[in-house]
């Protein structure tokens, strides 16, 4: 980050570039106290806060500085076997995409004829009314396929041994990653404890608002007035009041709709109008299959197209691959296979959507209605959190760790249930995987989902997804103990729409005898 001296120099240089030293000659500028004056100016104008928020944002996203000799791949993923596994998974996806492309004889990308461009522009706000023939398209992969890859992950340096011992992990994930146990989780999620007020618990109708809710709302308003990202992130650990949520999330993600952001979005929109990509059809299909069929998200269908189509063309997303174990797929201009000068990333943002991808966006439509703001929020959520749910890495918030955390919690604290389910061929992860990959979107009621995502933002971690998954199993343990097949277990856990997320988490972490 820039030091204050550097900024001062830049300021002075700018003045020089402007070709006039006039500003330095102004009577109110005193060279002796310039540094202090600038600091003062920052404080008064609010720029100090903005800088702080920007710095905080970078700190939250980027990994801590590592050894100077570490190559860039280590930033993406330090473990070699994970990198290899991710690499071969990517090859498979790309192969699947290319074969669909050849089968259907559809180019990966083509320029739209002018007539079609005009039509799309007219229909921009109601693309949902389009009913293109998508029957031949299949999603490139579904969470199920990804799970199979994770199940087969092995660390070549780790000898599991054939003999079962009390330390054997009985779940599907067989890699030795460090995950937190309940005492550590209690420490990590200390604000969710029984003695701390929570939205989602202490704002229920039986609790008088004077006890917690009113004060919490007041503090929230103060945090927003101060425009302090770090404070907002701390505040939101206890949940966000409905009326303040949209602004709080924007503050934490450090999103402010500047004119250049709106312009950027408009530019992306133009890209969509001018060029048609194969992934567009995949996006259409996904939206039609998932969000449009949802009882509540169907209303936002049009917004989903407006966000996702632009997202595929946004090359700024490529930046996140620096700390993502995944790498953007490369494609080559027709006839120039293998020639690096003719390599392009496909899709332009490097992210190939899978079945259910649109559900990452759907809940956000509840909060943001202006397309460019909605877009920015989604993009930031993706490059901070969601990408970890479908790439193979050793990061504590990566999907592999979440799966292992879930299984370990279940095996350690609900061993009878875990063993029973395993015996009947219903490995718990097979049921909970889809919840975690989608961050529970589409499974929980929206207000509960938003309370959950509040905590993801507050703790800057996805581990709460694994804890919630385990808590759900704990809650339905009695019924699950009586089932005798995977199908029956799925049926017990099919409907999560009545669950209250915060009480479940609290009971599991803080009120269960361990």
């Amino acid at each position: 980050m820039y030091s204050l001296e550097a900024i001062t120099v830049i300021q002075m240089r700018n003045d020089e570039d402007l070709g006039s030293n006039a500003s330095l000659q102004r009577p109110e500028i005193k060279l002796e106290s310039l540094k202090e004056d600038i600091k003062e100016f920052f404080k008064i104008s609010g720029w100090e806060k903005k800088l702080q928020n920007a710095v905080y944002s970078e700190l939250s996203v980027f990994p801590l500085p590592s050894h100077p000799a570490a190559p860039p791949e280590h930033l993406k993923e330090p473990l070699v076997y994970m990198r290899k596994a991710q690499g071969s998974w990517e090859k498979r996806i790309l192969k699947s995409l290319n074969s669909m492309c050849t089968e259907l004889s559809i180019p990966l990308a083509r320029k739209r004829p002018v007539g079609e461009q005009k039509e799309l522009l007219n229909k921009w706000n109601e693309m949902g009314t389009d009913e293109p023939d998508l029957s031949l398209f299949r999603p490139v992969y579904a969470p199920k396929d990804f799970l199979e890859v994770l199940i087969n992950l092995r660390n070549p340096n780790y000898e599991n041994g054939d003999s079962l011992s009390f330390r054997t992990h009985l779940g599907l994930i067989q890699v030795p990653l460090k995950v937190k146990d309940i005492p550590e989780l209690k420490e990590f999620f200390v604000e969710l404890g029984l003695t701390t007020g929570q939205l989602g618990i202490d704002d229920s109708t039986q609790v008088p608002p004077e006890l917690f809710e009113n004060e919490h709302v007041r503090i929230g308003q103060k945090v927003l007035a101060e425009q302090d990202s770090a404070a907002a992130q701390q505040y939101i650990r206890q949940g966000s009041p409905t009326a303040l949520r949209a602004e709080l999330w924007a503050l934490i993600l450090n999103i402010s709709s500047q004119p250049e952001d709106i312009l950027y979005y408009e530019q992306l929109k133009t890209n969509v109008i001018q060029h048609d990509l194969l992934v567009d059809s995949l996006i259409y299909k996904d939206v039609k299959l998932t969000a449009s069929n949802d009882d509540y998200y169907f209303v936002f269908e049009d917004y989903l197209y407006q966000v996702l189509l632009c997202f595929s063309r946004d090359t700024s997303v490529l930046g996140h691959f620096a700390y993502n174990s995944a790498s953007p797929p490369k494609s080559y201009i027709r006839g120039k296979l293998g020639l690096e000068e003719y390599a392009v990333f496909y899709p332009p943002n490097g992210v190939i959507p899978f079945h259910g991808f649109s559900m990452y966006v759907a809940p956000l439509c509840f909060l943001y209605h202006e397309p460019s703001k909605l877009y920015q929020i989604f993009r930031e959520m993706y490059v901070r959190f969601f990408f970890r749910l479908h790439s193979i890495s050793s990061h504590p918030s990566g999907i592999v760790s979440l799966c292992l955390l879930f299984e370990t919690l279940l095996q350690t604290y609900l061993p009878q249930l875990f063993y029973h389910l395993r015996e009947i061929g219903a490995q718990p992860l097979r049921i909970s995987f889809k919840w975690m990959v989608r961050a529970f979107s589409g499974y929980l009621a929206t207000d509960q989902l938003l309370l959950l995502w509040d905590r993801i933002l507050g703790y800057n971690s996805l581990e709460i997804l694994a804890v919630l998954a385990a808590a759900v199993f704990a809650f339905r343990a009695v019924n699950l103990m009586e089932v005798t097949s995977l199908a029956a277990a799925e049926a017990v856990l099919a409907d999560l729409s009545t669950l209250k997320v915060m009480p479940l988490l609290q009971i599991f972490l803080f009120a269960t005898v361990t």
Partner: protein, 461 residues
């Protein structure tokens, strides 16, 4: 010594004494074959009577009522699900007349400000008798859109939009009949519902098409509130137990019905855009049965709160309370308040972009057919709670302010959420006892209610 007049302590109309003895079984009759039948059949102690048997409770349809009510003798305890002349509220032309009259009366008695509270109904003219008044208003506001609705039909049939007088000239000449059948939605097909049976028509009156019928021309609300670019209206349930005195309950649940297509004023011929009845949407080519295109009111209320803040939402819902109460007050003096009658109304409300609610119409026979599992549950609970309030089993004391999902909204005066004397001075913290779109923990409430009623009974016996 007289007690101060206190609505909170007044009973809500259940007569005491020997007429309220517990009956061994309650004989019910109904012709509707949907959720209602399921609820009635499952109610403990209720038996169905067929054909000409004697009944204690009849959920009738309005045509039976029209033909038989006047020469049917009913014992004191018997209940029937409609008021004899409900059409004063539910037929669009009568409702407008009653509302206009009530508004004038309010203006005389209480001034312009009070009368303005009745301005929740878009300007409406009865056709053909008020045609000239309509033309005058039309000319004063060139370019706005009007909607023509038949007074007595439902499910969106026969409705069309127009902007030019020319469009209704044909209608006036009597060729309207032909024009109408062209624009009408095809009759509702056998809709699949969980009870698995065919829904009987819920239209108010006639069976055959009459060529020139009574219509109303109403100012079309051109700036409806949109969600996801779609227009929607709200369906709210109000249970009236008597008109004199006026006792009305408001159900906490309800739903928002979305139009399947995006709202635009450029295509007023596309009735699928403008009409939000599920019946019309079901015939739209876009219609996806799984969708159901409905949002429960809780979801809607949360959405608005996250967008506009809780105060704005409170104001909106309080304006809606005002609509319910005033519309009922406007017909209070004309409806024959027979103590055997109760009625469950379905109110259709439209919200505009300024968060002002408008009354579209009141239905005396709101559809009880379920369009989805969620809808089935809502209607089942609604009907169960209606029967709890009607209280054929004589369990309630008459002083309850809440029964299941129903909150007592008006009891010959406003009902306050707080206990104790309501502050009638107009200042202070009078909050009405309505919870539309709020949490409906009816099972818990009913369990507590009936448990305490039982123990009260034991204590007094």
């Amino acid at each position: 010594m007289s007690r101060p007049k206190n609505q909170n302590y007044k009973g809500h109309g259940l007569s005491k004494g020997k007429e309220r003895e517990q009956r061994a079984s309650i004989r019910f009759k109904t012709t509707l074959m949907n959720t209602l039948m399921d609820v009635l059949r499952h109610r403990p102690g209720w038996v169905e009577v067929k054909d000409e048997g004697e009944w204690d409770f009849y959920w009738c349809d309005v045509s039976w009522l029209r033909e038989n009510f006047d020469h049917t003798y009913m014992d004191e305890h018997v209940r029937i699900s409609h008021f004899r002349n409900h059409y004063e509220l539910t037929r669009k032309n009568y409702m407008v007349k009653n509302l206009k009259r009530f508004r004038k009366q309010l203006e005389r008695e209480a001034g312009k400000l009070e009368a303005a509270k009745c301005d929740f109904f878009p300007k409406t003219f009865e056709m053909p008798c008020e045609y000239h008044l309509f033309v005058e208003e039309f000319r004063k506001n060139p370019g706005i859109t009007w909607i023509m609705k038949p007074v007595a039909r439902s499910q969106g049939k026969g409705i069309f939009l127009f902007r030019r007088l020319k469009d209704i000239m044909d209608w006036r000449k009597g060729t309207a009949g032909k024009k109408l059948t062209g624009l009408e939605a095809p009759p509702a097909r056998n809709t699949v519902n969980p009870s698995g049976s065919h829904d009987s028509r819920s239209s108010d009156d006639q069976k055959d098409e009459i060529p020139v019928e009574n219509y109303v021309a109403q100012r079309y609300i051109e700036n409806p509130y949109l969600i996801g670019g779609r227009k929607f209206d709200l369906r709210v349930y109000v249970l009236v137990m008597s008109y004199i005195p006026l006792r009305a309950w408001l159900y906490r649940d309800g739903f928002a019905r979305f139009s399947n297509t995006r709202f635009t004023l450029s295509s007023i011929d596309d009735q699928y855009v403008h009409l939000t009845n599920v019946a019309v949407q079901k015939t739209s080519p876009d219609y996806h049965p799984k969708k159901g295109c409905k949002w429960m009111l809780q979801r809607f209320r949360q959405y608005l709160a996250s967008k506009h803040g809780p105060e704005a939402v409170e104001a909106l819902f309080s304006d809606m309370d005002n609509i319910f109460v005033r519309s009922l007050q406007s017909v209070q003096k004309v409806i024959i308040s027979d103590k055997h009658c109760f009625e469950l109304y379905g109110y259709d409300i439209l919200i505009d972009q300024n968060l002002k609610p408008w009354l579209l119409e009141v239905n005396a026979s709101p559809s009880l057919t379920a369009s989805s599992q969620e809808d089935y549950e809502l209607k089942t609970c609604l009907l169960e709670d209606t029967l709890h309030v009607v209280d054929m089993e004589a369990r309630l004391t008459g002083r309850e302010k809440r029964v299941g999902g129903f909150d007592l909204m008006w009891n010959d005066g406003p009902v306050s959420r707080e206990e104790g004397t309501p502050d009638l001075s107009g200042m202070g913290n009078f909050v009405t006892n309505t919870h539309l779109g709020c949490i409906n923990d009816r099972s818990n409430q009913l369990r507590q209610l009936f448990r305490s009623l039982q123990s009260q009974k034991k204590a007094s016996s």
